[in-house]
Symmetry: C2
Subunit: 323 residues, 2 copies
Amino acid sequence: MTSIVVTGDRPTGQLHLGHYVGSLTQRLALQNQHEMFILIADTQVLNNDITKSKEVKKHTLSLMRDYLSIGLKPENIHFVLQSRVPALFELTQYLSNLVSLSFVTRNPTIKSEHKLYNHDLNMGFLNYPISQTSDIVLFNGEIVPVGADQVPILEFSNDVIEKFHHSFNTHMFKKIQPLLSDTPRLCGLDGKNKMSKSLNNAIFLSDSSESLKKKIKSMYTDRNHLCINDPGQVEGNVVFSFLDVFMEDKLYLNELKEHYQRGGLGDSFLKNLLFDILNPLLLSFKENDFSDKELMEILYCGTQHANHVAENNMEKIRDIIFQ
Amino acid sequence: MTSIVVTGDRPTGQLHLGHYVGSLTQRLALQNQHEMFILIADTQVLNNDITKSKEVKKHTLSLMRDYLSIGLKPENIHFVLQSRVPALFELTQYLSNLVSLSFVTRNPTIKSEHKLYNHDLNMGFLNYPISQTSDIVLFNGEIVPVGADQVPILEFSNDVIEKFHHSFNTHMFKKIQPLLSDTPRLCGLDGKNKMSKSLNNAIFLSDSSESLKKKIKSMYTDRNHLCINDPGQVEGNVVFSFLDVFMEDKLYLNELKEHYQRGGLGDSFLKNLLFDILNPLLLSFKENDFSDKELMEILYCGTQHANHVAENNMEKIRDIIFQ
C-alpha cells in the first residue's frame, strides 16, 4: 500500500499558471501512484476574515472546475469540502489541549504569515496549524506537498502528533513527510512578483485565447531593447522566464537566448512562440467540460468518502482519549 | 414560550452538598418552569489536562446518578453529553475567527482561572470561553445560572454574539442573561474553605448514614468551647453554618444560637440535630434508583434531542456564513 497524499487549496479564486507549474502538475503526476485527498479549505479561508465567506461557494465551484479541467481524476482523487467533515472540528478541539500558545506563536511560518496578513492575532488564525494537523491525520495522510515556507507547519503537526502519542501511549498516526516541488516559482506578467490573482498579474487556467494573447503582449521584456537589432537582456525578461518553464526544446531555447542577446530577434517573435505553446495547453483544459451540478456531485462523493475515513479514525481517537 | 436554561458540570467527581445548595436546588426549582439543557462538559474538562480523560466515563455516570437521585426529571430536562454534539465543535471553530487573542486574555475570569490552575496557557483553555458560547447559543439558551465569578464569561459570550450579528447582519441569537443564585456558599467540614472534593472536606450526596454521622462528628465547632457550660461562638462554627442553610425553623435556630453563646448547650446536641436534618435528605436521594444502563439511556436520549436542536441551528448558521 502506497502512502496517502493530502493537499488542498483555499477557495479564494480561479487557479492560474503559477498554481499549475507549482502544485497542479505535481498532483497530476502523483494521482497515478498514490491515493490522494484534495481539500477545499473553506473553513481555513475564514481564519483571517470571516466575512470572506460570501465568496466561498463561487470559488469552490471554480476550484473544482479548474481541478477537473487540467486532468485531475475523481477516480484517483477524493475531493473534499473541509467544512462538511465534522470530525475535523472535533479532533482540532481535542488537539488544542496539547498545544500551548507559545508553541504556536514561535513557529516561524505563523510568525511571518501573521506579519503578511497584518491582521489582529485572532483565535481562528492561531488555531489553524492545529486544524491543519487534523486535516492531514484524519485522512491517514503521510505525504504533503508544500513550498519550503510551509515546512515548519508540518514540523508543528509532527510535534502535535508526538504529543498525542506520548500523552496516550499510542502510535496511531503516521509521521508526515513534506514533499517539496522542484519547479521554480512562476513570476507574474509584471516580472516583479510571483504570479497572483490579487496582484492582477496572472494568466488563469480558464483564460480565453484572446485574453491569453493580450496578456502575453503586455509581458515585460527588456526596456532597452527598442529596435530588433539592439542586443537584448534575457535575465528578468518575463517571456524568457515563461519559455524556461514551458518550452520543451531547451536546445532551441538556448539558441533563441543567444540570438536575442546579440541582437536581431524581436520581442513579438518570442511572444508569438510563447502563445503557440500556452494556447494549446489552455485549450486542452477546455476539453473537459463539466456542469456545476456534476462538479458538486463529484465534490459530494469525495466528501462522503472522506467522512467515512475520518469518522472511522475519530472513533478510534475517542476510544483512545476516553477509553 | 419561556426562556431556555442552559447549565452544566464538568465530570470531575461526585456531587456534594455544596453543589446541592449552590446550583442543584436552583435547577430543581427551574425545571418546572423552563425547558432546560444540562451539559456534562466532558470536552471542557480536558482543557487544562487532556489526560484527565481516563476518568470522564466514570464521572459522567456518577453525575447522572446524582442528578436523578435529587429529583431532576428527564421529562423536564435534556441531559447532554457535550462531546457527542458535533455541531458544538463546528460552531466554536467559526466563532474563533471573530475573537482576538487579546480579547480572550483580558477577560478577568480567564485571567484568574489561568492563575488558579497554574498551567501553561494552552490553546484548549484559551478556546474554552468560545466553546462555552457555542454550548449556550446552539441550544437557544437565554438563561445561564452562574456564580458571580462567572459573569464576565457570559459577557464575553454576549460580545461574541454581537460580533457575529454585526459581521453577518443578522439577529439569530438571543442575549444571554446570567441567573445568580442567592444561596450562600456552603463551607467545608474544616470551616476554612468552600466545600470541595479535592480538599477532602465534602459531604457527598451519595454518602451513607454512617459516613454522614462520621463527617458531622468531625466538623469544626469552637475550639474554646471545652465544657458544655462554657460560652460558645456561633461565627465560624461549621455546625451552625450548616444549620443556617438546612434548618427551616429559624426561630428555634436563633434560640439555639443564644443558648450556645451563653453556655449550657453541647456540640453533640447540635451535631445530632444536624444529622437528623441531613440524614433524611440524603436518604431521600437513595430512593431514586437507576441502573447504569438506564442512566446512559437517559443521557443518550437527551443528547439525541440536543443534536436535533443544534443541527437545526447549525444549518441556519452555515447558511448565514456561506449564504
